[in-house]
């Protein structure tokens, strides 16, 4: 990362980038407020809001009771009436307590009211495994929300996108859910100064290649890049696409890549069945890109089990660099 700094690029961690986005938005727009459990003086369970309460005070950095359904619902009602709340679920798993307000209310209000209402709420959801927190604090449930018309569902992989997506979400008139990976909070990368947005619904080709396409988001994108490095040593050129947005999904970038490489692997941390991989596989199968496939589509997702506690089991339950690399080799050799 020093080379980035040497090149004159400003380096921030993923959580610093998120915090900077919140601070910029709050400075520019007095209707932006933060809500969540222990986001005030505690600074958030993952220290993302950190010292924002000192800068903006407890009226705008609101600690909520441990009432996820009510808290999310208050955020929805506030968004309906002129505020722009950013509600932090302490863990994405806890969003299940608030499904009613997210799915029945936030996602549907504009439609049910015939376009007469707007719910510009942002939900932030620390997500994913790898922290030893076991089955109820480690899930990757972003695909659940991909099934809900009315929501937008994002998963930033880099600090630059973490900031740009949050600012895009705050500028969006509809409810946006941002799944932040817990293992990425301390990762660093270049982050532009000031206000900018990462467009919602656009994937990004992080590494061009011609032999296979790997579509992955969040931390899986980094693992796919590491696997691609190893594959390159043997002359296998993997194209790595950072999915970034699950809803809406960027059909064009994915289909264009498949037309070019003829092989598709989808890597995601959610349970493999009925997940992001199923959706992407189907959209390829339903398109002209299907004719370009030289091999079956391969999905790599989490094991068909709750996230386990034991570290070896936990690692084995979700795709790792080794498993991505091995699967890519099988795909290129048509051993799938």
């Amino acid at each position: 990362m020093n080379s980035l700094a040497d090149a004159g690029l400003r380096v921030l961690s993923y959580s610093e980038a998120i915090r900077e986005a919140m601070a910029l938005a709050m400075e520019a727009d007095p209707t932006v407020i933060l809500m969540g459990e222990d986001i005030g003086v505690y600074g958030g369970a993952f220290q993302v809001t950190l010292d924002l309460i000192d800068r903006f005070g407890p009226d705008r950095v609101m600690d909520t009771p441990i009432s996820e359904l009510g808290g999310a619902g208050v955020a929805v009602g506030a968004a309906l009436t002129g505020l722009k709340p950013v509600y932090e679920f302490q863990f994405s798993d806890f969003a299940m307590l608030a499904m009613e307000q997210i799915v029945n209310q936030a996602a549907k209000l504009r439609y049910m009211l015939g376009g007469e209402a707007s719910v510009p709420v942002v939900f932030r959801l620390p997500s994913g495994s790898g922290t030893g927190a076991a089955a109820q604090h480690s899930q990757s449930i972003e695909a659940w929300f991909g099934h809900v018309p009315g929501l937008k569902v994002l998963q930033p992989a880099t600090p630059e996108d973490a900031k740009g997506m949050l600012l895009a979400a705050l500028a969006d008139p509809d409810p946006v859910m941002i799944f932040e990976h817990k293992l990425l909070y301390k990762t660093k990368g270049p982050v532009p100064e000031g206000h900018y947005v990462t467009p919602i619904g656009r994937a990004s080709v992080r590494r061009p290649g011609s032999d296979l396409s790997i579509v992955a988001g969040s931390i899986m994108m980094h693992r796919a890049l590491d696997a691609a490095d190893r594959l390159a040593a043997d002359g296998i050129r993997a194209e790595v696409i950072d999915l970034r947005s699950i809803r809406p999904i960027d059909h064009e970038t994915i289909l264009a890549s498949v037309r070019k490489t003829g092989r598709l692997m989808v890597v995601y941390e959610g349970v493999k069945a009925f997940g992001v991989g199923a959706e992407i596989s189907a959209l390829v199968a339903e398109s002209d890109a299907f004719d370009y496939l030289d091999a079956p589509i391969l999905r790599l997702g989490a094991a068909d089990a709750p996230v386990p506690y034991n570290p070896d089991l936990e690692r084995a339950s979700v795709p790792q660099v080794d498993t991505i690399e091995a699967a890519a080799r099988r795909l290129v050799r048509r051993e799938v």
């Binding site: 009432s67 208050v74 709340p85 707007s118």
Partner: protein, 337 residues
């Protein structure tokens, strides 16, 4: 406004001594409008002109109308699946409501919402709700906006007795109290959550008893007595406007019709229904207005006829309105660019 001699207490009912005669007459007319609207909706349904289901509030008109006496278009309400009366009491146009029931483009929700999602954001009605308890946290959020944005409006949260056992009720009341928000929780206790009576579902004898757990005033009133409801809500709204926080008002009332169109009335007796029908909130309010010289019987009849004519015109408007374009099935899912 006082009708008594100087120094003497005014013993007239609260509403009579508080609201101007023209507002009282308008309230009576709106109560008739609610009843005729519900009857018109039921009739349209029985004739097969509208589909789906509906939850009629016949018998609960005083609760809806008296609660809204204190409100302006700036004030907000959240409503329930039994919400037609709230919508009319808050000032909605029955033509656009019928158009919504008929699934027409001219309806409040352009045919996308129907009976259970009817709303009129312009008059502060943030919407009915198909989920029991769904509106409670949303009302608290609307109240939070008022406080943070420095707006003077209050939010009235209508909910039914069934909602008092939802987690959302408890979470919402707690947060409203912790943050001292300008919201009034108005429970329309019509004795049954679908078929399950309040006695069989709720551990406390009165839903207003729940207020103590959230350190807010709670009061139970005869919900079929217009003046009693108006007085209780008046005090709660004043408290909210003064920045003193939320209150809970429980209106004891009864729905004359079944829960929805599938109800066979197997859980209550004809005697019970008849008993409540003798406590008709419209007849009682009208008698009170006549007794205090606000109008005479002929004028009341004229108001009822006006309401019936508005309903008839509303149904005609709905029937003559265009349907939404099938090509626009995904319109309004997201904001249009």
């Amino acid at each position: 406004m006082s009708g008594g001699d100087a120094g003497q207490a005014d013993n007239r009912p609260f509403a009579i001594r508080t609201y101007a005669p023209d507002r009282l007459r308008e309230a009576l007319k709106r109560m008739y409008l609610i009843r005729r609207f519900e009857e018109g909706a039921e009739d349209s349904y029985m004739r097969g002109l509208i589909h789906g289901t509906m939850h009629l509030s016949i018998g609960q008109e005083a609760s809806a109308m008296a609660t809204c006496m204190e409100l302006t278009d700036d004030d907000k309400i959240t409503s329930t699946h039994r919400g037609h009366g709230h919508c009319i009491a808050k000032g909605a146009d029955v033509g656009r409501m019928f158009a919504e029931f008929y699934g027409r483009e001219t309806g409040y929700c352009h045919g996308r919402g129907g009976s259970m999602h009817i709303a009129d954001v312009r008059t502060g009605n943030l919407g009915a709700n198909g989920i029991v308890g769904g509106g409670l946290p949303i009302a608290v959020g609307a109240a939070l906006s008022a406080k943070r944005l420095g707006r003077a409006y209050v939010t009235i949260c209508f909910f039914g007795d069934g909602a008092n056992n939802e987690g959302a009720f408890h979470e919402a009341l707690n947060m409203a109290a912790v943050w001292k928000l300008p919201v009034v929780f108005v429970c329309e206790n019509n004795q049954y959550g679908m078929s399950t009576s309040i006695v069989r579902s709720t551990a406390v004898p009165r839903i207003s008893d729940r207020a103590a757990a959230y350190a807010m005033p709670g009061v139970t009133v005869d919900g079929n007595d217009f003046s009693a409801v108006a007085e209780a809500v008046h005090a709660a709204v004043a408290r909210a406007r003064a920045g003193e926080g939320p209150s809970l008002v429980e209106n004891l009332t009864y729905r004359w019709r079944g829960h929805s169109k599938s109800d066979r009335n197997r859980y209550r007796t004809k005697d019970e229904i008849d008993d409540w029908m003798r406590r008709d909130p419209i007849a009682r309010f009208q008698a009170e207005l006549i007794a205090h010289g606000i109008l005479d019987a002929a004028a009341a009849e004229a108001l009822a006829a006006e309401a019936a004519a508005e309903v008839e015109a509303g149904i005609a408007f709905a029937k003559s309105s265009p349907a939404p374009s099938v090509a626009e099935v995904t319109r309004y899912v997201y904001a249009e660019p």
